[in-house]
């Protein structure tokens, strides 16, 4: 969280700067099967964020030391394109992208039936082409659709959503300004059918009541996004190419 409360983020009518209500998310659109070279893929636009995910595998896990005798490992790379942000990002991994990749992989391993593929590896590549706050959540949603598109069995989908706090008010789905000048950010990965949580991070300042409200918003958004994910996969199969 950048500054605290020194920038006005709520209008006098209680709406946010972009006209959304406190519990309204940015527009989301999802397309499955967008990359011909991949075994499964998806593109998610969420507000001005654009994330593309590709899945390769299951394939042989190498180097051998990463193999698990009883399950597959999921190898996630979250990467921001050099032109995805205001100032150009130098290509390559940094501490932030390594951490996000690690916790995203662990979240996906919680929903994929990894025990079906012992000693193998499933590669998940998440590329952020345009970033406007909330990219890790958009990446998780894209990865879930790409895994389903690749035909990899999962116990549920996983949806990335975030709520936060601006001007002492809990709001759903922070945009860029709200993320920079807000007071808290709570990104989670929700299993929409079971209601379980497989991804959780938070930074800032939230009371228990505020946390509970933020979670309520997150669950509401997750079920909305889940419908779009299912719809994208149905359209993919109606289209019928490979």
């Amino acid at each position: 969280m950048g500054g605290y409360g020194d920038v006005k983020l709520l209008r006098d009518d209680g709406k946010r700067l972009d006209g959304r209500t406190v519990d309204e998310m940015r527009p989301v659109s999802i397309e499955a099967g967008v990359l011909p070279a991949a075994d499964g893929s998806a593109m998610v636009t969420h507000g001005l964020n654009v994330a593309v995910a590709a899945v390769y595998g299951p394939m042989e896990a190498h180097p051998r030391k990463i193999q698990r005798q009883d399950r597959a490992v999921i190898d996630v790379r979250y990467n921001m394109a050099p032109f995805s942000t205001g100032d150009r990002i130098r290509p390559g991994f940094n501490r932030r992208s390594r951490e996000i990749s690690k916790v995203t992989a662990e979240a996906l391993e919680s929903v994929v039936l990894v025990e079906r593929y012992p000693r193998s590896k499933i590669r998940v590549e998440i590329e952020i082409l345009a970033a406007e706050a909330g990219t890790r959540c958009v990446g998780i949603t894209a990865a879930a659709v790409a895994l389903a598109d690749a035909g990899i069995p999962m116990r549920d989908m996983i949806v990335g959503v975030a709520s936060g706090k601006i001007e002492d008010t809990v709001v759903l789905d922070l945009d860029k300004a709200e993320d920079n000048y807000g007071q808290a950010d709570l990104p989670v990965g929700i299993l929409p059918n079971t209601g379980e949580i497989a991804f959780l991070q938070m930074d800032g300042d939230l009371s228990i009541e505020e946390f509970n409200l933020a979670m309520e918003y997150n669950f509401k958004a997750a079920s909305e996004i889940h419908e779009l994910m299912v719809d994208a996969l149905k359209r993919r199969y109606e289209r019928g190419d490979n």
Partner: protein, 261 residues
């Protein structure tokens, strides 16, 4: 990842070539379908998406203010880099830039730089103190063959639609980047013993050397590159150069058309 080159694929390509056919049914100099979209990414000052057969490539332009080189105090700079990220194909692995991605970035860079379409003097803000650095990043999302031509097309289309973000850096008003001309690349691979235009993934896998030709608006050569193992004759080169002239003109018209919208 080691690529296995199936002997059967090589034999099939040879058999097809003898009948003047290609593995996907195209003629020797036919292109796959190409679509170009410009100004498609928030946060990039110029951007383009190229879908070329099964190949998908984005290019994004960013600007930075830097101190000019001491021996060229009134000149800005241009840099074009490419990333063959593991998202694009099974065969690509994470790690530092591979020789292939460096070659791709540099061949595209040379075509744009040497065509003179960017006047480095125009990128000067305060002589000796502040100049613009223009950075084109090529992001390959799906490698379905012939990434060179798709990357070159995405790069010049992104550049031609770029807006210099002067207001953000407090050095004047935002303005369109001045680009004089559209250098365009045409690539050929030897498949089944003869050259073909716009090689598919299979033709690259089962083929031999490749040649990349970048032509400017006047039809002049601005960059050439021969890659991979193999040799060719001057008469073969003359033949593909004639094809390149026609292909580059068509693609240049496509860029101009998108820019007009």
């Amino acid at each position: 990842m080691v690529e296995l080159v199936p002997t059967l694929l090589r034999q099939e390509l040879e058999r097809l070539a003898a009948d003047d056919q290609r593995i996907d049914g195209r003629g020797q100099w036919d292109s796959r379908d190409v679509s170009l979209e410009v100004d498609c990414l928030y946060n990039a000052e110029g951007s383009a998406k190229v879908v070329w057969g099964d190949t998908i490539i984005y290019a994004g332009v960013k600007f930075e203010i830097r101190t000019p080189w001491p021996d060229r105090p009134t000149q800005g700079s241009l840099m074009c880099g490419a990333e063959l990220r593991p998202v694009a194909h099974r065969k690509y692995e994470p790690g530092p830039p591979s020789p292939q991605s460096i070659e791709l970035g540099r061949v595209v860079d040379r075509g744009i730089r040497e065509s003179g379409c960017i006047d480095m003097e125009e990128l000067c803000i305060v002589p000796g103190e502040k100049v613009w650095g223009v950075m084109i990043d090529i992001h390959v999302l799906s490698d379905g063959g012939n990434i060179f031509d798709a990357a070159g097309l995405a790069a010049i289309a992104a550049l031609r639609t770029a807006v210099v973000p002067a207001e953000r850096f407090d050095v004047g008003e935002d303005h369109k980047l001045k680009v004089n001309g559209s250098p365009i690349m045409a690539s050929f691979t030897r498949a089944g013993g003869r050259f073909v235009y716009d090689p598919s993934e299979e033709e690259e896998l089962g083929g031999d050397e490749r040649i990349h030709i970048t032509l400017g608006d006047e039809g002049h050569l601005h960059s050439l590159q021969k890659g991979l193992r193999g040799v060719f004759t001057p008469s073969e080169f003359a033949e593909i150069l004639a094809v390149a002239e026609q292909k580059c003109t068509e693609l240049r018209e496509m860029v101009a058309e998108k820019e007009g919208n």
